[in-house]
């Protein structure tokens, strides 16, 4: 009988790093089997009881998926910053940043201080993956172990020049040529105190994207056309952002690359991307979503509130605001267009105060939403803004909106010539 147990006990012991006394395991296993518990369930529950995990899976960062548990990853810390969060009224210090291996870059959150620094190559066991802004994020929890390695992450330095339009969240070793349109320095809080970084907009011939430089370099000046190697892409507020750090090389070029605005883009061409910066779309308004029109916000946190009650701040003096969330569709694709109070006024013609009067006369806040529907459903609008994907679907938050110029007949003649030719 004893012999029968041995291999299973051995297996459990191995899973627990040989830290538990063999006789205890044997006794527990016997007991569970006397209760007619299936062997596999008995083993699983014992490993759990003694604090061991299920089998660790080694994963490359590009393969991680939301919901993964107990994985092992190896990578280099690209960024790390310290944050204080409030969990159930207890202040807790966490560390978040970006880690990359030779496959991709991903964001991470460490729930305790593992003494990691930018540039460290680490192996993390018992990590898990959570959903952060619809993207997988590696989490280092209480059970995680972080080991610093002396080895390096091998990244093939030679890579082809890529168009900015192709770049996606997680891309590493990015090689690109672009002109810096504008930039400024910011101060941020890192693990080792305040640090100056640079941010701004870069563009190649037809695409603009935001960038962040974690190092201050003289080549990075507005108007310069530069070639950058070994940069990486992280999504910031849903928009792919180019990151330049200590490992990146930058050469200032003598030629100058000019950005040319291409006019509106087809919605169908951009909804396949993670996000897009400063684009123009044109389409028909097909639906006004609930929550459009007059809305009340909490003066503290700007959350949309009902009947003066904020989820976080209780009874507050509500602040009135106006917005439109609409479906815009050009026949190639559809997305949600968001207009703030100013743009709502621009397109509908009334101020928040006038909208409030309208609601008062009709004795219903919904009156404004109905007015907006009557005004906009079916209409063609053009809008400029950033496209992003998140839990509310594909969204373009507009910073301008207008009724496009009427050139239907010219276009129709052009189309007829095209068919004939």
């Amino acid at each position: 009988m004893e012999l029968e147990f041995a291999p299973h006990v051995e297996e459990i012991k191995r899973a627990l790093d040989n830290e538990v006394d063999e006789s205890n395991i044997t006794a527990d296993l016997k007991k569970l089997l006397e209760y007619r518990v299936p062997l596999s369930e008995a083993k699983r529950s014992l490993i759990k009881k003694y604090g061991g995990g299920e089998k660790t899976t080694i994963k490359k960062l590009k393969d991680i998926q939301i919901g993964d548990r107990n994985i092992e990853v190896t990578g280099q810390v690209l960024e790390i910053s310290k944050k204080t969060v409030n969990i159930k009224n207890i202040e807790k210090t966490i560390f978040s940043g970006t880690i990359c291996d030779e496959t991709t870059a991903r964001s991470f959150t460490a729930w305790s201080d593992f003494d990691m620094k930018v540039g460290d190559v680490i192996r993390v066991t018992q990590a898990y993956v959570r959903n952060w802004q619809e993207r997988p994020e590696v989490n280092f929890g209480n059970k995680s172990k972080v080991t610093k390695l002396t080895s390096k992450i091998e990244i093939n330095q030679e890579s082809e020049i890529r168009k900015l339009a192709e770049l996606k969240d997680g891309d590493i070793n990015v090689h690109a040529v672009f002109t810096i349109l504008n930039m400024e320095t910011h101060e941020i809080n890192t693990k080792d105190g305040a640090k100056k970084i640079m941010g701004g907009i870069v563009a190649d011939e037809n695409t603009k994207i935001p960038f962040t430089a974690w190092v201050l370099l003289p080549e990075l000046a507005a108007g310069n056309t530069v070639e950058v190697k070994n940069a990486y892409i992280r999504s910031f507020r849903g928009v792919p952002t180019l990151n330049i750090n200590e490992n990146s090389t930058i050469i200032k070029l003598d030629k100058r690359m000019e950005y040319k605005e291409t006019g509106s883009v087809r919605i169908g061409d951009i909804i396949g991307k993670d996000g897009a910066y400063d684009i123009v779309i044109e389409g028909n308004i097909l639906s006004i979503r609930p929550g459009s029109g007059l809305i009340a916000r909490c003066p503290e946190c700007s959350r949309v509130i009902q009947k003066g009650m904020c989820r976080a701040h209780g009874k507050v003096d509500e602040k009135m605001d106006m917005r439109i969330k609409a479906i815009i569709d050009d026949g190639t694709g559809a997305l949600t267009l968001v207009l703030d109070a100013g743009l709502t006024q621009k397109i509908c013609g009334y101020t928040i105060e006038e909208a409030q009067k309208m609601a008062k006369t009709a004795m219903s806040q919904k009156a404004v939403e109905d007015e907006i529907k009557k005004k906009l459903i079916g209409k063609i609008l053009a809008a400029r803004g950033n496209m992003s994907k998140g839990e509310f679907g594909i969204t373009l938050v507009a910073n301008d909106v207008w009724e496009p110029q009427e050139i239907t007949r010219e276009k129709a003649n052009e189309l007829l010539r095209r068919i004939a030719g």
Binding site: N284, L286, G331, L335, I377, E391, R409, L416
Partner: protein
Amino acid sequence: MEKAEKIMDREIAWRIFAHEFNRSNLHVSEGDERAPNYIITPTGVKCNRLFIVGVVTEVENIGKDNNLWRARIADPTGVFTVYAGQYQPEAAIFLAELQVPAYVAIVGKARKYEPEDGSVYISVRPEEINTADEKQRDRWVLDTAERTLERIKLMEEALNSGLSGNELREFLQKKGENPLLADGTVRALQHYKELDKIKSELKNAVIHAVKTITTDSSVREQAVGKGEAAGTQVSENPKSSSNEPPKQEFKMEEIKKEKEEARNPSESGITETEKTPEPKEAIAAIIDKLDTGKGISYSSVVETAMKAGINPETVEAGIKELMDEGRCYEPKIGVLRKV
């Protein structure tokens, strides 16, 4: 993440001319009863939602309890049938109060009705409906023409690839086509016979539609005024004569086109298919004879026409054409009435 995308991604509203929409007779539904239903159009649109800007030419209350409204919405190529009932109260009220003719914009879902005699009726159930203007209509015609021509081109590429089934689906998706369009194209190729004929007819309808929006609206107004007594308008709006149903425009254009073709024989092949009215006229005569004012059953028209030697498919197509032209209509499903 994929699951979230499926819930959140809004299905596209396709731009399809009535000509193509009404010729769709393939229908698919996937999964359980709550899954969306699609029609597959001849150019391969797997269509659930569509967007139309057109002219309402007729609104009729056909429900027993005043709660089902049927509207005919014309574009330059044909007529969409729209039904709004108790579950579309806003659209039903909108249609009930509408003065025809009027430009409207409609977002709706494609519906099909298959009575037992084997025919398929495609209609639109509105989600949103609003008044529109001529500019919006013209822009819709332009957009719909561009999208339709793109699809015809894709259809040709699909045919030229020599692929079919899953291989074709993969080929199209790799090209970056919308997955619904890729799937629809595969299914349309399997289902529709005489695709070449359908394609050339549709192309002609598209060209015709685009031509209608290149002419100045004031010219159109005059033409309509001459063609039809303008005094039939019952409206206080002096400008409303430009709102004439495009039925008249279509005829005017047709005449113009025929004249042009007479001068330019090299083009005459294009519209040949539009000029074969024989069985249609025979059917019109049958309906005319049988209908004593109360309407006659669809099946008896089919029966009589078949006895007269017209094959059932032609009868069906002929009746559809007559309805599209506004020469007969269906007061109830399965019943025909002359106008």
